[in-house]
């Protein structure tokens, strides 16, 4: 069972974030980390391959190739190899361009299953995985709370408004996993050392035959303005001296909720 996991290296969400003033692209000049949302997919893939007893996990990513610590982290967790599509022309790509690039990279692996997070933690467009599935002609199941593979069938408990649905699909297929679907492992020292020698293939847009079709030039959207939102004034903040609950009740009284 061969599984591709789509991963993204993102600016640390704990650090202050900003948009570049001229391009309005997210400022990615700081240190990049593996999106925590992707660690669930990596872990899920490792467990599924383990259970199948055969196959391997490949991580596929688009972005800068100069800082690959995040991708190395996925390899240290146990993924066998990585494919990175890195090209200056890809800056400012929209979700569809990103999907075209990732789909072309995934096609080279021809996996049984593609896993991705439901959305990235920086851009959170939340449609790239399904766009990839459509481009690859694959069925997809999004928002998985659990994933089981039995032979050539994948069964997923899929989050719904009211609870969850059990959904099945023949393989190959694409599944997006919610955070918490599994508990991601920490990379061991042995894993970190092994990751240093695992294959990382770096491809350009030309390598994928997508010249002129992707990147900012292929984006069908542009940001025309960035404005400060109407600020919400902060109100009174008091330290609890044992009367915090009474003060909350008084506040609820004042807004006529009680």
């Amino acid at each position: 069972m061969n599984i591709v996991v789509c991963v993204k290296q993102i600016p640390d969400p704990a650090a202050p974030q900003s948009l570049e003033s001229s391009t309005h692209n997210l400022n990615r000049s700081g240190k990049l980390i593996l999106d925590e949302a992707d660690t669930y997919g990596v872990e899920m893939a490792l467990q599924l391959v383990d259970k199948a007893g055969t196959g391997e996990v490949t991580v596929v990513s688009m972005g800068s190739s100069s800082d690959l610590a995040g991708v190395r982290n996925a390899l240290a967790m146990g993924a066998a190899k990585a494919i990175i599509v890195s090209d200056d022309s890809l800056r400012g790509s929209d979700a569809l361009s990103t999907a075209k690039v990732l789909a072309a990279a995934i096609r080279r692996v021809n996996p049984d299953l593609v896993l991705a997070a439901t959305e990235s933690s920086d851009g959170y467009t939340g449609t790239t995985p399904v766009q990839i599935a459509e481009l690859l002609g694959l069925p997809s199941i999004t928002f998985a709370k659990s994933v089981n593979v039995d032979g050539s069938l994948v069964t997923v408990n899929r989050q719904t408004e009211a609870g969850y649905d059990e959904v099945t699909s023949p393989l190959p297929a694409l599944v997006t996993v919610t955070a918490g679907v599994v508990e991601p492992r920490y990379a061991s020292f042995k894993g970190i050392m092994a990751a240093k020698s695992k294959p990382v293939e770096i491809l350009t847009v030309a390598d994928l035959g997508l010249d002129g079709q992707v990147g900012a030039s292929g984006a069908g959207q542009s940001i025309v303005a960035v404005e400060a939102a109407e600020a919400r004034e902060s109100g009174e903040v008091v330290v609890d001296d044992g009367d915090g609950a009474d003060k909350i009740v008084a506040f609820l009284d004042s807004i006529k909720v009680l």
Binding site: P13, D94, A95, L96, A99, T118, S121, Y124, T125, T127, V130, Q131, A133, E134, G137, P139, S140, I141, T142, T155, A162, G163, Y164, D165, E166, V167, T168, P170, T178, A179, G180, A219, G220, Q221, I223, V224, A225, V226, E227, A228, A229, A231, R232, S234, E236, V237, V238, V239, D240, G244, A245, D246, K247, I248, V249, F251, L252, I255, V257, L258
Partner: protein, 321 residues
């Protein structure tokens, strides 16, 4: 370019279209042009509601025979674009199935899409608003390629209002073969029981976060919600940790709420969370960290231990009842 033709994806439930669907239909009317709905299942049973909120035509993809809607509905919309021509915009609710439909349609039509939209206007062409960085900044965007503009809109961006229109004319969508892409099937549906008002509709929402310390403490949240006749919500952190079901999650990936009062207990205020509750009329926050970002948007904040404040609050509320 004037916006003269808008299609709105209307998600059916047993009790009618989802509220977000009706919000989009209401907003689509404001452009003054033609508005059509797109649905699946049994369009005829929803024709009156589609018309009431402003659709003149309701395109029906029909019975999906258990398939997840994403692939077959996107294929049917693409077939309609091919036969009837592209509208100026296709509005789609931000929801589990809505995002699937939007992503598939974008790839099928080879057209970009704009997501997490909270405002749409005609400013020499479609202009969309997107809150970023927890809603502290608003990005405005435009399409630069040919239509249709595929726009995925967050819940509660607009207010649903009836137009009093007559029932929409139901029209069957052209049949479209979605092939292997449509082979994901629903085999069972599970509903998680919850008491009291729905999270998205409650006037009072009480939410818990990591500051509760352990899953068992969420009981405090449920009890206060019940005493205030409100709904209990949660931050992503404790949903990810498995303390409460995903259906309780408020935030970017969860539900958007705009109650009269939102009481955040042990929630620090990650941007993920804030974008889902920042529109609340009043915000009360209880957190032991005085520097927690949640206090910056709270109308009333208590710096304190939720394990002391919440039990006391339960007693105080019981005394009032």
């Amino acid at each position: 370019m004037s916006i003269s033709n808008i299609w709105v994806v209307l998600e059916p439930t047993a009790g009618g279209f989802t509220t977000t669907s009706l919000e989009l239909l209401t907003h689509a009317r404001t452009f003054g042009g033609s508005v059509a709905g797109i649905t699946w299942g049994d369009g005829a049973s929803h024709a009156a509601q589609a018309g009431e909120y402003g659709a003149s035509t309701l395109h029906d993809a029909g019975n999906l025979n258990g398939a997840l809607p994403g692939a077959p509905v996107a294929a049917a919309i693409a077939a309609l674009v091919a036969s009837a021509g592209a509208p100026d915009a296709i509005l789609i609710p931000t929801s589990y199935d809505g995002r699937d439909i939007a992503g598939r349609l974008s790839a099928r039509l080879d057209r970009t899409l704009l997501t997490n939209v909270t405002g749409i206007s005609d400013n020499g062409g479609l202009e969309t608003e997107h809150p970023v960085f927890g809603g502290t900044q608003i990005v405005k965007a435009k399409f630069t390629s040919d239509g249709p503009g595929i726009i995925v809109v967050r819940a509660k961006s607009f207010v649903a209002e009836s137009s009093g229109g007559a029932a929409a004319t139901v029209s069957a969508l052209p049949s479209a073969d979605s092939g292997a892409t449509g082979s994901a099937k629903i085999i069972a549906t599970h509903v998680e029981e919850r008491e009291g008002p729905k999270l998205e509709e409650a006037a009072v929402v009480v939410s818990g976060g990591r500051g509760l310390g352990e899953a068992g403490s969420y009981q405090l949240i449920s009890e206060i919600a019940k005493l205030l006749n409100g709904a209990a919500g949660a931050s992503r952190a404790i949903v990810d940790a498995g303390w409460v079901p995903y259906s309780h999650q408020v935030g970017q990936t969860g539900k958007t709420v705009k109650p009269t009062v939102y009481i955040a207990c042990g929630i620090s205020g990650a941007t993920q969370h804030m974008v889902g509750m920042k529109g609340s009329k009043n915000i009360v926050a209880i957190n032991k960290d005085p520097d927690a970002p949640i206090f910056q948007i709270a109308d009333f904040g208590i710096v304190g231990d939720v394990h002391k404040v919440l039990p006391a609050l339960i007693e105080a509320l019981k005394a009032r009842n």
